[in-house]
Amino acid sequence: MEEDNKITDETPKKQVIETEVPLGPVHSAAIEPYRVRLFVEDEIVKDAEITVGVNHRGVERIMEGLPVEKANSLTEKICGICSNSHIWNSVMVAEKALGTEVPERAQYIRVIMEELERLHSHMLYLAHGNEVLGHETFSMRLFYIRETVMELLRMIGGNRVQYGVPIIGGIRPRAELNQMKLQKITEGMNYIEEKITNFAERFISDSMIMSRITGVGILTKEDAIRLSATGPTLRATGVEVDLRTDMKEYDPFEFDVITQDDGDVKSQLLVRVLEILEAIKIIRQAVKHLPEGPITNRSWEMQDTPITKSYIEVPRGKLYHSYYLDEGRVRNVIVRTPSITNIGAMEHACIGNHITDAQLAVVQCDPCFTCTDRAIQIIQL
């Protein structure tokens, strides 16, 4: 940096030098590999740019031409946090294309899995957010509460991360819920509800945290819609959109769509806290009214289908899968994950904040950069 102290008529009154702060792809501030370039003037972020593509593995390319059952279990490997969402949506594409009816009991168990996944994903988000805020006690508490969910997932699916529960026409036999497992889920939900309510009360009444996160990383309603934000990131700005209200799997359950109005970090965190309580509500209803009957419909037949697509609401927003079937093989796979549409919101939320809040502004949108690295083509309109 060169500074000229002589003040003449030509020099502007305040000489501001724009500095670029590059972070990543492997950096201590970012656990996942991605690259952020912050353009800083006077320690205020003027512009931000997020580049992804570091962990592109080409899952769609490997899926091309595989039998549909194999391809479905491969979609699970796209993301380790919302793995059930990917396999569920991919299975739903095949079911929609082949016209397969799914037994009601299997639908209920799929919803239980999805909501358990939402619980652990949101708790991970809150724990990570608190860690970034510098409040390690809350972070540790949330990690401890999250273990209850992970144990429930291991009990149902057999693995802590990738459970592989849905298959075409139903669910895997090992994920059948008996009375003992239902009892354990109910106990777990009681425990989590008590702990999360306790956490929420202490979190909201803590004036230090509230003053730290109020008004930071603001994303207005108009900007969020313009930048195609989805999921809880959009709902925290006051837009009442939730695909679960349109999904027929969620018809038997009553739940509220959580919105907050401010669009800052406080709203983003509170939306997730309240969604945890809603997810507990859905799981309780599903456990209470779990219908009897078969869990798998094996009477489907393979046939060639046109391009079929499916949207579902996952913990981070709207997930899209599409492919067509040709002689039992999967062709032309397209996956669009929620984090890729949230990147614009992340970049926008950084602008205008102090540089120390930039990481918080990125983390508030719940990024999952493993999901994000898909093969995309940008077309200039």
Binding site: I31, P33, N55, R57, I81
Partner: protein, 148 residues
């Protein structure tokens, strides 16, 4: 036990590098180190994000093409003695992404990890279980403690 290894055993720093897996192993390892349930810190093993401070490098993921050079640079930056743990199926053999038995092997993957940097301990699983990570970290400790 020499004074050097006595003191080394009380401050083992683990660095986690994520080279493009599915995030599952990554979170399980962070969870294993940080969370109160598994709590690897009770064995005096700490998590760090600075390679110059680290003793043990834990690598997850199948090493995508863009991550190959950064991984080598991080390995070079760690001072001797050092140990490398490859955690998860992707780090051990490329996982599903490498497409080993497929018609065309994937061009995006440079892994497994032992083709890029030398590996001392291997932790299997998809995703790794926190108990196994603990066992792997303990298995790599003699390399650090017995080194001159």
């Amino acid at each position: 036990m020499s004074l050097k290894s006595y003191s080394r055993a009380r401050a083992v720093h683990v660095m986690l590098v994520y080279t493009g897996g599915c995030n599952g192993c990554d979170i399980e390892i962070v969870n294993c180190v940080l969370s109160p349930k598994y709590d690897i810190e009770q064995y005096k093993i700490f998590l760090t994000w600075n390679p110059r401070e680290a003793d043990v490098l834990v690598v997850t993921g199948p090493v995508t093409r863009h991550n190959k050079e950064p991984l080598k640079a991080i390995y070079e930056a760690i001072p001797e003695p050092k140990a490398v743990i490859a955690a998860g199926a992707c780090a051990l053999m490329g996982g599903v992404y490498k497409n080993i038995n497929g018609d065309i092997p994937s061009e995006e993957i440079c892994g497994p990890v032992d083709e890029v940097i030398p590996v001392d301990a291997k932790v299997p699983g998809c995703a790794v279980r926190p108990e196994d990570v603990l066992a792997g970290a303990v298995a790599a400790l003699p390399l650090l403690l017995d080194a001159e």
